[in-house]
Amino acid sequence: MQFDFNSPEPIFIQVATQLEDAIFTGAFQEGAQIPSTTEISKQFKINPATVLKGMNMLVNNELLEKRRGRGTFVKQGAQEIIIKRRQEHFYNDYILNLINESKKLHLSEDDILTLVKRGYDNEQDRS
């Protein structure tokens, strides 16, 4: 995990995002236990209450579940939920930014489409 403490987001949201990323990439497997609040706060020197707040966010989002006296675990189907949600956010997070940036660079819609095509072709060549 990495934390960028210059990001405009509050630290507990960054904690949540980092944990979510770890679940998304499979670093934390579904059904597996994740590090405790203390372990995370110790390693990154973050107030335990902040870490807990971030974790609780994911619990509310049905990605993590707390098992009494045993710790926090990744819920079954968590990865699927993240993928779905990220698909929904893809337009806002990436496409709008892409269009914004391309305007600054005077790239037309066609230019962008060409570039996207090139990206996919390169990808195919590699594999």
């Binding site: 403490f5 210059n6 990001s7 405009p8 987001e9 509050p10 630290i11 507990f12 609040t37 203390t38 706060s41 110790k42 990154f44 020197k45 973050i46 107030n47 335990p48 209450a49 902040t50 914004n100 305007k103 600054k104």
Partner: protein, 288 residues
């Protein structure tokens, strides 16, 4: 839940024109980590020493659960103040000092003490006055983390510690705090080091509390915004600015407020301000 209330506290020294503290009011709640900040000579140490009844205020009072802390054995046994002086017998071996403190507190955490001694690589058979400045601080740090007090005040705890030992301190502070929550008040000039550990910020300036807020609240309203000067200005219209820097047409504005409701211009970058920067700007502004 226990709490410490500081009410109308003032401290005036003889032969000095201005009072060091003129009217200080705040409350310390249980199980929070407070960062106490302020410039050199702002009165942080004096404030803490009055909370622990080391010194008497000129006016006002410090209440522990509603009772004045002065000459109050019950309150004082729940307040531990690690000041910058060495208060222990210098000619004693560290081992003897630890044994003495253990005899003073019923639930002194010997296990944690042994663990910390190992992690800090402290030689307990050395006499206190034979230790380096850093290790003398470490002895005090170990004691303050092991005493069973609800309120632990630390005045510049990491002064003179090397990078590794500072790290050991921070890690163990968090660990003991998570396992056994209690209130810490940490005064330090190295704000970057603890700005994620603390939950609340207390800023002392010109004899009063300038800021006393939850860290998250502060974080959600302290920003640095940069971009072309006119875009930044139009976006931030009506917001009171803390500090601004300009490099040609490129402008960075630091302010403490909510982000404006307007749409963010594409050319503008929003960053959260670091606590250290924010406090420096506030202190600077206070002087003008």
């Amino acid at each position: 839940m226990s709490k410490i209330e500081v009410r109308h506290l003032a401290k005036r020294f003889k032969f000095s024109k201005q009072p060091l503290l003129s009217e200080v009011n705040f409350t310390l709640n249980e199980n929070e980590i407070y960062g106490l900040f302020g410039e050199n000579g702002a009165g942080k140490s004096t404030l803490m020493s009055m909370i622990a009844d080391y010194n008497r205020p000129s006016a006002g009072e410090v209440l522990y659960d509603g009772e004045n802390v002065h000459e109050n054995d019950v309150a004082l046994s729940e307040i531990y103040f690690m000041n910058q002086d060495n208060m222990y017998p210098k000619k004693d071996k560290v081992r003897q000092i630890f044994a003495f403190v253990e005899s003073m507190y019923e639930d002194y955490d010997v296990e944690l003490q042994d663990k910390l001694v190992k992690e800090f690589k402290l030689d307990v058979n050395q006499k206190l006055n034979k230790l380096s400045t850093g290790y003398q601080s470490i002895v005090k740090i170990i004691i303050s983390l092991c005493v069973p007090c609800k309120f632990v005040l630390l005045d510049e705890p990491t002064l003179g510690l090397d990078a590794r030992n500072r790290e050991v301190f921070q890690r163990n502070l968090i660990e003991t705090y998570s396992e056994n929550p209690r209130t810490f008040v940490i005064s330090t000039h190295i704000i970057d080091e603890i700005d994620r550990i603390i939950s609340d910020v207390i800023l002392l300036q010109d004899g009063v509390i300038k800021m006393n807020e939850n860290l998250e609240d502060i974080a959600s309203k302290s920003y640095s915004i940069s971009g072309p000067a006119e875009d930044v200005d139009s976006y931030l219209q009506g917001i009171s600015v803390l500090e601004e820097e300009q490099l040609g047409r490129y402008k960075t504005v630091h302010f403490m407020d909510q982000l404006p409701q307007r749409e963010v211009p594409a050319s503008v970058d929003i960053e959260q301000m670091k606590l250290q920067k924010l406090l420096v700007y506030i202190m600077d502004r206070g002087e003008k």
